[in-house]
Each structure stands twice: as structure tokens, then as C-alpha cells.
Symmetry: C2
Subunit: 609 residues, 2 copies
Amino acid sequence: MARIDDLRKIADRLRIHSLRMTTASGSGHPTTCLSAAELAACLFFGEMRWNTKDPRDPASDEFVLSKGHAAPLLWAAYAEAGVIPIGSLLELRKISSDLEGHPTPRMNWVKAATGSLGQGLSVGVGMALAQRLDKSPARTFVLLGDGECAEGQVWEAANSASYWKLHNLCAVIDVNRLGQSDPTMHQHDLAALARKFRAFGWDAVVIDGHKVEKILGALKDAGKGGKPTAILAKTLKGKGVSFIEDKNGWHGKPLKADELARALEEIGCLPDVDARKFVHKPKPFRKKKSAASFDFPRTAYKDKTATRLAYGNALLSLGQVNPSVVAVDGDVKNSTYADKFFETFPARSFQAFIAEQNMVGVGMGLATKGYIPFIATFAAFLTRAHDQIRMAGYSFSNIKLCGSHVGVSIGEDGPSQMGLEDLAMFRPIPGCVVLYPSDAVSSEACVAAVAAHQGLAYIRTSRPATPVLYAPGETFPIGGSKVLRKGEGDAVTVIAAGITVHEALKACDGLKTGGLGIRVIDAYSVEPLDKETIAREVAETGGRAVVVEDHYAGGGLGDAVAQALAGRAALKHLCIRELPRSGKPDELLERYGISASHIAQAARELAGG
Amino acid sequence: MARIDDLRKIADRLRIHSLRMTTASGSGHPTTCLSAAELAACLFFGEMRWNTKDPRDPASDEFVLSKGHAAPLLWAAYAEAGVIPIGSLLELRKISSDLEGHPTPRMNWVKAATGSLGQGLSVGVGMALAQRLDKSPARTFVLLGDGECAEGQVWEAANSASYWKLHNLCAVIDVNRLGQSDPTMHQHDLAALARKFRAFGWDAVVIDGHKVEKILGALKDAGKGGKPTAILAKTLKGKGVSFIEDKNGWHGKPLKADELARALEEIGCLPDVDARKFVHKPKPFRKKKSAASFDFPRTAYKDKTATRLAYGNALLSLGQVNPSVVAVDGDVKNSTYADKFFETFPARSFQAFIAEQNMVGVGMGLATKGYIPFIATFAAFLTRAHDQIRMAGYSFSNIKLCGSHVGVSIGEDGPSQMGLEDLAMFRPIPGCVVLYPSDAVSSEACVAAVAAHQGLAYIRTSRPATPVLYAPGETFPIGGSKVLRKGEGDAVTVIAAGITVHEALKACDGLKTGGLGIRVIDAYSVEPLDKETIAREVAETGGRAVVVEDHYAGGGLGDAVAQALAGRAALKHLCIRELPRSGKPDELLERYGISASHIAQAARELAGG
């Protein structure tokens, strides 16, 4: 077991590595690392129990570096633990190295990308929940900065941790007083931060964050009160180097070569201590394996059914065959129909209340531990978690998001409740799957498809009940599409998805009586788009295409099709081009130009041209 | 002055209106209105001082309905005050009515759209700040629900209000215990909510929210302690109607005709009271008018300068000629260069710390009072405020956002810091202007352009210093573009913006020596795009085009150009197609395919084809 003196030495080794690394790379945040050196030493080599041979050992305690700009400190700790070579540290921030400027899971000990501040605690909440579900004795530690405690998401996470009584969760806050451009709001008023955590249902303790014995004591006591615990550590940014210590203006600045020499002189030589032997092994624990499948019995839909309702039914069915599937709600489960899953599987269901950022972060945490979280709310409110979804992309996270109530077709509730920018939010994320079913059968199939897919995925569901278009058992592979109407001599191809598929079919039927044939494609896979089928069908209809979507003009299906058909089609794009208002769904489809009559008109214009 | 009994009667009138309106429309949230009926009565006809003739009278107290789904209650209050006809209430949620399902400023007494929960308090903070700036005696009141207090943004707002000592701000929280699908986290544990507000630096008082005399007392005392005040009002959802009162499962459900009849029987007839005579007139106050201009002296740039630096310089110059311009920062002002404005105009500068959602909401509040807020942070972190920006669109808000550090060209800090999805976030918002300057001159001109533009606007700035391309005084109108290279027989047009303009120019110069002429367009106005110029130039180069951007594939300039050129060009799209990593800027431009060499290669392929 490490003595106080060993941990002090390790802290200084972490300091020296952090300084050298950032000077070598010519960028980075050394002062942010220096304030947390003792905290990291005590966590990795004092309190945490972890298996240095296996980053995925479920017996190990979990660690999240929420203050991601202290990445050099994290890399240094892993090097000291023998997980990566110490020599690799000087590769920091090089294009060839996985030791990036802020942590991403390219470095395999990192479970969630951080660097957009205030997100780590939510991930930690999800990990601690997973540990409880697994009946694991392991704990979760999150290292935060004081600056990021201004992010509301930290308080959403704090709320949920105390609500779920996660005494296996410990937040260590490195209160170094200085933000990037200004001192933090509370500076060294640690009592103010403690009051906040206590008001949010946590145990909170204030310590000197450079005193190893105090840190060890606080870490040992964490959770004993049956609550999540916040350790508020008073520290100095740049601690250990006189000319940068506790000085404003040194955020994100590496030392120059001569400054580094002076700094190293002050700290002294690299202390002689082998940190590897101080890592505590985890308590024996193996996770129970259960049979899991993605194949669930499909429903025989006949009557008009909303895609959101079919989503709820499918999630319930999936839950029956796969115990890794969990659900997270933002207090709208009776609208997304995730409530069916919640009622049947209360132990695997998590009410995150109206706090979408934390909802996504908790899902990310659960996913790091092998769960498959389905996270649903109104599509409009997923914009609240855009930054978190972006970071889920950088985390290669296996979360599944569902956004309901998309487009003007929701009707009277008005624009604040209409998801009209969600496709534009999800499409850019590299590798993110975006599915948009038009009927109950395809909605159910989309749930099966995203569950079996490893990676970030989004399903877009609609509020109104829509007719059933497909036979039970029809498959909807990611990247596919369905040609729903096709005839010899079709003059125009209409590419639609979701609610507009039904409008397109109406337009097709209407035009047929007038002698104009149009082809209709259900482009349920918006990302990846079935470019080949779309291009082929459009070519067969003389290069004339209409794309119609219940989404704003930018970033949605229209853009995707325009890219796919660039130079190969005369394209009309029907979509929502102004800020919509409350009204009846059909009135709104008509007023904003995406109804059957508008599709027919666009097709006639193209065919006549 | 209203007596207790009058206010009770007014509350019942508001109840009756709310029930009738929602039953008439067949949708809406009557129970949410009923819990807050006494609160609304006491606010509008007891405590607030306001001019019912002029929604923009700066002497009036401001009101924000953060719990936007109680819109019928708000419309009813305005009707009782004589601002709108009582008969118009039954038009609720009709496509022809401005009395929408959730408030938007289409109804001219609404200053900020609400309905995405947890946003109103930030707007109120901005209003209260503006009132202080104006030296107005008026106050700001925000009515929140308890469910939305789970949103982190509420605590960001609470933080900032106490930091700024806004004793002119009063939050009234309608603690009706029930969310949409579940009871709230704290239900009727009002003490828990009070502890939170107190820990965040507020005065907090717990009252019975159906007792008019208690409400009046609390409102009267609000702010007397020199702090913002939270009035935590214990209420019952559906109060006054036995079969819905305090019952789960009644969220967002209008009463059926027979239920309405029973409900009205319980409440009794519409009480006979003329609420109009109880509205308190505001204290006399006029806002001082100052000369304001958008024309500021331009800088004579010669050396390589980052567009973000030119933004900072321009904001400072604009501030000199326009006293309505204010700045809001998220603790990165030394990176966005808003620090120049902060140093010179401290009274008009607001440090919102690392809390981007509140930062945008505060800006919206300031804008409602005639200020022109420039709100800047890293573009990546603006995704944190996507929902708020979306709601700013629905609010027709005059805020100006600046996102710095866009794309892989930031280099070593890594993907979490790279704005690669911001164009996809801003482009969909109808009417939002999106500008993306490539050099210092155009960056400065963009600041001038968005300042003079009434409405939401976004400027995208880059981290690296780039050569000066334009002469001082060159104008950059919204919707324009610049043809930078043009020659007889050009084979391809390259459409670029920001950093890629410089790569395109390098490619042009390189290809020229090989005998291949390419045209280069600086598409600095991404939204609206200069479709005419682009289409014309592309047509002149044989319909061959390359679009190149430091942004992900979906939703950005590439999509915009593909739409503009649909059917008229063979288009190659160079952009970031995978999750990037840390590295040097030039290495990253090369690796991810948007450097001069890739542009040249694409042009050669198109020209050869």
C-alpha cells in the first residue's frame, strides 16, 4: 500500500510529465494538470481498485475525467500505472498518437470523450447505475473542475445521482479558482459549492486538495453516508511552479523551453517511485451473462397506428428478448410510448425527468458498461442535448435515441414542440444512423435495426396515426429504401419519409386519375441514404424528382437527396420554409407546402417542364 | 386596489376561461393553468405595474411564462386586463389565431417564445439586467413550473442572477407536484426546492399558492433582501375541479364537454369583477435615447490576421458607435477576442461563465429590451444552446451569435473543441443569417452586417491567422459572395468559405502553372446563399463545381450548394467525413481531405471527366 510520501512523489511525477508533454507538443493545459496532481495520484494509486490489464473489467472502479483539458495528467497517470509506455507521453497531441488534446476513446482506457465541460458527471451517474444493475461492488469516480460546475448539466446530474441514491458515485472537484479568461464565480469559496451539492442531496466535504492524507481520508469515507459524495478540493492552478501558480492568464499555455527548465528546477528531479505497485486490484467480481437477442416477435399491425406507438411496442418486445436493453425517459414516456417498457421493466427503466442533457449522458454511461440504452423524448427537445449527442459521437457510444412528435404534423401544440431541425442535427455526425419510419411495421423494424447496430443511432417518430403500408415481416435494413409506387412511363420520382410518404401516395393516386404517373420512394434510411436506388429511379423518371419532408429546408432529407443527385436531376424540394404556427395537422401540412396537393403540383410542374 | 376577494374572483375567471378554451380547441393543458390561477391573478392584477396600452413601455414590469404550456392562462390574463377581447380566447390554437398552444411573440405581448421548458428564467435574467442598465425602476417576474426546475438551465440562470445581484428579479414557482408522465422529483417537498435556491444565492420563501393574501405578501417582499427571490408556491394541479385536482394522468388533456359542464358547476358562474381596473400603472420612467450607428471606422489590415481577432476588433469598434451593443461571454473571451469589448465597456459586458444555455437566454432577454447582444463562444459549444437558439428563432430575437474555433483547422485541441456541425445547426432556422468570413476585412464587415440586420444572425470565425484578401472598405452584404479568381476558359468553379478559401486560392495558383484554370468563389454568406452568382459561375465553367468546407458532410455549405445547383452541376463535395483527431492544422486539412492538394485533385478529376 502506498504511503503518503509515495503518493506525494507520484503527484510530482505526474506534474513533471504534464509539463514536459505540453511543452513538447507546444500546446495544452499544464496548469490545469498541476492543480489536480495529488487528486489524480490518490485516485489512481490510493483509492481506486482497478485492473491495469483490462480496461473493460467490470470489477474495476470507473473513472471519468470530466475536466477533459487535463488530458496530459490522465495520460501521465496511465503511464505511471504501466498501462502505456512513459515514452509515449511525449507524443501528446501528435496526429499519430491516441493521446489527444482532450480524451477520446481512441485511447482504449477512455470510456467517454470529454472536453466539452460539464458532461462527465452524467456519464458517471450512468456508470454507477450500471454497476448497481450489475450488482458490482465497484465504484465510479469523476474528476471535475470548478469552472465547469457553472454548467447546468452538472446540477442535472447531481439531482439524478441523489434521486437514485448512488452512494457508489464520488465526484472530486478540483477547485483551482481560475477559469480560462476570468476567475470562477465562487473562486475559493468552497463552502458555496458545498452548500449547492448538499442542497442537491449529496454529502459534501471540503479539503485541501494538495494534502495527500486529506484526500485519501475523504475518498475512503465517500459514500458511507449512503449518498453520492462530492469532495471539494481547494487547489492552486499551476501548483508547484511559483511563476504560474494561482496566476490568471496561464490557462491553456504550455511553458516555453526555458520556463520548463525553471519549473523542473523548482519541482526537483523525477522522484524515484514505482507507482505500478500501488495500484489496488479490484474485488473479485464477474458479471452474470444472460442470453440476449435482437429478434423479437413482430406485431401484426392492421389499423392506423402512430410510428411512436409502434416504437413503444417494439421497445417492449425487444426488452423481452434482450436484458441489456434499458430505457431512459425525460418525463414524456406517455407520449413517446416508452412507458410500456417502463411498466414492464422498472429495474431497467430510468426516469431522468425534464433534463435532456443528463438523460443522454446517463445513457452514455450505461452504454460504456455494455447496456443498450434507448433514450426517447420529443425530437425538439433532443436539441437540448446536441452537445452531448455530439460528444456521444466522439465516444463511439452505443446509445439509441428516439425523437417523437416531429414536424408540423404534431398540430396544435405549436412550433416549440415540433422537431423540425433534428435531421440536421443528427446527419452531420459521422457514422450516425438516422431512420425515419412511415408506418408501424417499419417503425418496429427500425427499432430492431438500430438495436443490432453497434453505434449511435436515431429514430424519428411521428405523432399522428398513419396507415399501415407494409406486410408484417418486411425488413428495413440500414441504408435501404422502399419503392412504393412504380409504373411504366412514370414522369417524376417523389422521395419522401415519415408522414410525407402518405402524402406522396395520395398525390400519386390523385395524379394517376389525371394520367400522370409518379414513382414514390420511402427513404426511411436518411443516413446512410440509399443513393443507388434513388439515383436509379430518378434516372428512370427522366431525372425529375421531388423531395418532400416535414423538416426545415436545411440539413434534412432534401439536402441529402440533393447531394446524392447532384448534377443528375431537376429537383424540387418541399419542406418547411418559415416558422410555423399552431393549427390542425392537415391544415399545417397544406399551409406549409408539404401536403399531397403540393406534391402533385410540384410533380405536374416538373413533368410539364 | 384589488381586495383579496377580487383577486380570488379573478383567479376563478382565469380558471373558467382556461377550461373553456382548451375544451373548445380540443387540446391543451388546463390542469397546468388551474394550479397557477391565483399566482397569475396576483401577478397581473396585484403586484405587477404595467401599461396595458403598450407592450413595449420600458416603465412596465416584465413577465415571462416559463411554463409555456400554461399559455391559456396567459391569454386569459391578457383578456381580463383588456389587452385582447375575451371573445378571442375561444380561438385558442386555431391556425388563424395568434393565441398559440405555447406562447410566441406573434402575440405581441409575448417577448420570448416558451414551451421548451426551463428557459424562461434566463430570459428574465436578461430582462432584469437590461432594466438595471436602463436605470429603470421596473421589475421582472418569471412564472415557472416545478417540473422544469430539473432543467440545468434553471440553475445556470439562478447562478447568474445571484452573481449579478438582481434583486429586481422574482421567480414564482408553481409547485403543483405533477409532471407530464410522473410526479416530479420533489413533489410537494417545497423545502427541498427552497434549499436549492438558497444555495444558489437567492432568497426563497415557501407559501400556499392558492392563498391570495400569502402570494401578495411574498410578491411585495420580493427583492427586499437585496437578492433575487424565489417564491415557492405549493399548489394543486387542476385546482378547483375535484375530479382532476391533484390527479396524475391529466397533463395536457382538455375536458370533454360533459366534464367541462361538471367542472363549471363546481367552480360556479363567471364571477362578476372587472379585472381591468386593478392593473397597477407603472412608475413614470422613460429610457434615455442615445445616438446609435452601425457604421464604425474599418481597420486597415495588412498582416495575416485570424477572423476571430478581427471579430473582436470590430465588436470593440461597433461598441464605440452604438451604445445598444452589449457582449455576453462563456469564459472564453480571450479566445473569441470579445475581451477587447469587455475591457473597454465593462458595464455592457456580461460574463455568463461556462453556461452556454443561460448565456443565450440572457442575450435573448437583453434583446427584448432593445439591446443588441453579441454572444460568443467556441462554435462547438454553441451546440450546448441549440434548443435555446431554436427558441430564439421562434422569438424573432435580435441576438447575434459568434462561434469561433471552427473545423479541424483549430488543430491540436482535438475534436471536442472543433465546431464541425454549427452550419447544420444554424442553416435550418428560417430567417437566420449565417456568415463565414475568410479574412480580417470580411470578418469586420460581417460584424457590421449582422449588427444592422434585424434578427437572428451567426458569424463563424476561425482560429488560425489567415492572409488578408480584401481591400479595406470592401462591403459584404448579407446574401452576397465574392468571385476571387476568374479567367477565360476556367474549367471548374470552386466554392469555398473561411479557411478553405485560402486552400482554394492555393489550388488555383498551383493548377494555373499546369494550365488548368479554376474559378474561386468566397461564399461568405452561407445563409442566404448567393445562388445566382454561384449558378452563373458554375454554368460558365461547364457545370463543374467543387465545394469545400471545414465542416461535416451534412447540413453545411456543401448541402446548400447542392440544393442551389440541383440538376445543373457535376459537384464534388470536400468536407470532414470522419471523426477527426488531434494534430497540426495543416496536417488535419490534408488528412481529412480539404486542403489545396485535395481541391486541385478534385478539380482535375472534374475537368478530365
